[in-house]
Amino acid sequence: MNILKMGPGKAGLLATGLAAAVSFAAPANAADEVVMAVPTFLTGAGAPAFGVPARNGAEVIIEAINKGKLPAPYNNSGKGLAGRQIKAVIYDESGGGVKQVAEFRNKVQKQGVDLFVGYISSGTCAAITPVAEELKMLTIFPICGTPRIFEEINKTPKYVFRTMGHATADGVAEALYVKANMPGVKGYTGINQNYAWGQDSWRDFDLAMKQLMPSVPASDKAQWPKIFSGQYGAEISALMLSKEKLVHSSLWGGDLEAFIFQGSARGLFRKKDVLFSVADTSVYRLGKKAPFGSILGARGPYGIFAAGVDTPLNNWFRKVYIDRYSVPPVGGSYQAAQGVLAAKYAYDAAAKANGGKFPNKDQVIAALEGATYQGIAAPVHMNRSNGHQAATKHMIGVLQWDKEAGEPIMTKVTEFGPDCVMPPPGVNGTEWLKGGMKGAKC
């Protein structure tokens, strides 16, 4: 390369040409379809625990909606969303918030998507919320833990909905359960992944405990393993040596399973009472290796907690799901299906209000705001954050092995009403916790 001979400036021309070439690729979607983007983890560590079960749950429900085969209470609602078939665009949520924002714009502006039902990670939801509002895109988050979505990022959402309770509910339900069932507890410690979800989970549980059981101290040596580290030898030793008997953990997926293998081999679960906030993702998979006797949550009435709910919708969902995927649906499957049902409910209700004609976006939004609709396993009340944030009941129990059925079941289950574990409308979760959870109806 001769430093004196720089090339000519065709760079820009080439760039312009490329940009022009791609900008002509216009979206081509049929007019009688509703294009529903379903972002979920298809690769990476989030895939087996949440992403793939969520995709499966969404697929089951979308197929039934398109064929008009949903059982009661959706049995008389015709095919599709207000009569139009759903064209699902399922894609990968991996790669971080920035990349997902870019992809969101692509889907909206390039592929002409009509609505989004998806996103699992709090980080992605937090990143997507402002863009969805900016682009005026109906976006239903079926999962996402962080309360910040409607508490900080957008307090007056118009286009963004979340159809399940947020992380504050988990912490409150867990603390309530501990107070009711383990009155003699002398202290608690924790092991949570060192990232936003782990930090939030511990903070909310810790705040709720400080309110409900103020005399019970938290350990100052709660463990913070790096996410996806998979090696917990030292952490398990530290937990076993700690004087606190109760251990709070929001580990999930591969990390959770590795922790359980390594902890079981060392008798951790015999020595300590471990409370897992999202371990339902792994219980079926672990089978007899699961830590029986541990306290479990599923972030609501989902997965293993819904196993005994005897409604036509739930029975149908479990059967179809198990037939198709050979495993029972877990939390993610229920939550994603619940998110798609929100769209079903809203489009149909809006069409009805619109005299049977296919509704526009604002009508769909109006129908969903503040509504109560039937989820797979429990009613969903869209009654927080101007009717954009759901509240559902919550359930915590103890995991046991059912010898007869040959599968894990929940025992000693306590149900908490939606208004017991979710902060009242308009109240910030953290402040609610710090202020003594005023207005909770338990």
Partner: protein
């Protein structure tokens, strides 16, 4: 005669190995000095220390009235001592012209001047006249890595001479050059340096070259200067004959006595 370089009690040890010991040398303006010695005798170590590549363990190096010991090469170069290398150090994937252009630019500008264009017509003209003096103009656009060994050596030396140093130290300018080419090469170098009135110290194994171009010899043996004398004297010194010349110099030449005198400025 003016003293330009004074080295006193220079010492260099690598762990237990003594690479240089008690070196005392005074160099006068316009001298042409040959440094001789067997491999490992400490010749290159001496050059490396004077030009700042190696930091001496102890001693004193005075150049143009100031102590330059321990200064980095770039400062010593800026003060006026340049060097060439046994293995030519050039910008291998650039043309001969670009090599010298860069050498000129670095020699000519500093500070904010570094942000002026590298190429300008005046500088290019200076590069071309430099190429002519070193007789490498025909290789102007050749990539340095493709040059024949002799030409690459010339380029290396030409680059070192760009800044018109007070002292130029050449590390084996003729090593790796065929016998037929050696004298031609040395003639080019010495003529160019004579015009610049540069004081030259060069490391050399070939006693014919030493005899022909050099007025004074420093002979190294085991890290020490065992002889510092006019060429004719040095070449008959018994120590030099035993430890340095050895089998390298078999022939006796009657005209040896007035070797480098012709080229003395």
């Amino acid at each position: 005669m003016t003293v330009v370089l004074e080295v006193r009690d220079l010492q260099k040890t690598f762990g237990a190995v003594v690479a240089a010991k008690d070196i005392n040398v005074t160099v006068n303006e316009h001298e042409i000095i040959g440094i001789i010695g067997a491999n490992g005798a400490g010749k290159t170590t001496f050059v490396n220390m004077v030009t700042g590549y190696l930091k001496p363990t102890s001693g004193h190096i005075e150049f143009a009235g100031r102590n330059i010991m321990g200064l980095p090469p770039r400062e010593i170069t800026t003060l006026g001592i340049s060097r060439s290398f046994q293995v030519p150090q050039v910008f291998a994937s650039e043309s001969v012209f670009d090599n010298l252009l860069m050498a000129y630019a670095i020699a000519e500008v500093s500070g904010m001047g570094l942000l002026s264009p590298l190429y300008n017509d005046e500088r290019a003209a200076r590069v071309d006249s430099h190429l002519d003096r070193y007789k490498i103009a025909e290789y102007r656009n050749a990539t340095a890595s493709t040059l024949p060994q002799g030409i690459r050596k010339l380029l290396d030396i030409a680059m070192a001479a760009v800044s018109k140093p007070t002292i130029l130290m050449l590390d084996e300018p003729t090593s790796g050059i065929s016998v037929e080419e050696k004298f031609g090469l040395m003639d080019i170098i010495m003529e160019a340096l004579r015009q610049d009135e540069t004081t030259v110290l060069f490391i050399e194994h070939d006693m014919e070259i030493v005899e022909r171009y050099v007025s004074r010899v420093l002979a190294f043996y085991q890290g020490q200067v065992i002889c510092d004398a006019p060429t004719a004297e040095a070449l008959v010194d018994p120590g030099v004959r035993e430890f340095v010349i050895g089998e390298e110099y078999h022939r006796t030449r009657t005209e040896a006595a007035n070797g480098g005198g012709d080229n003395h400025a």
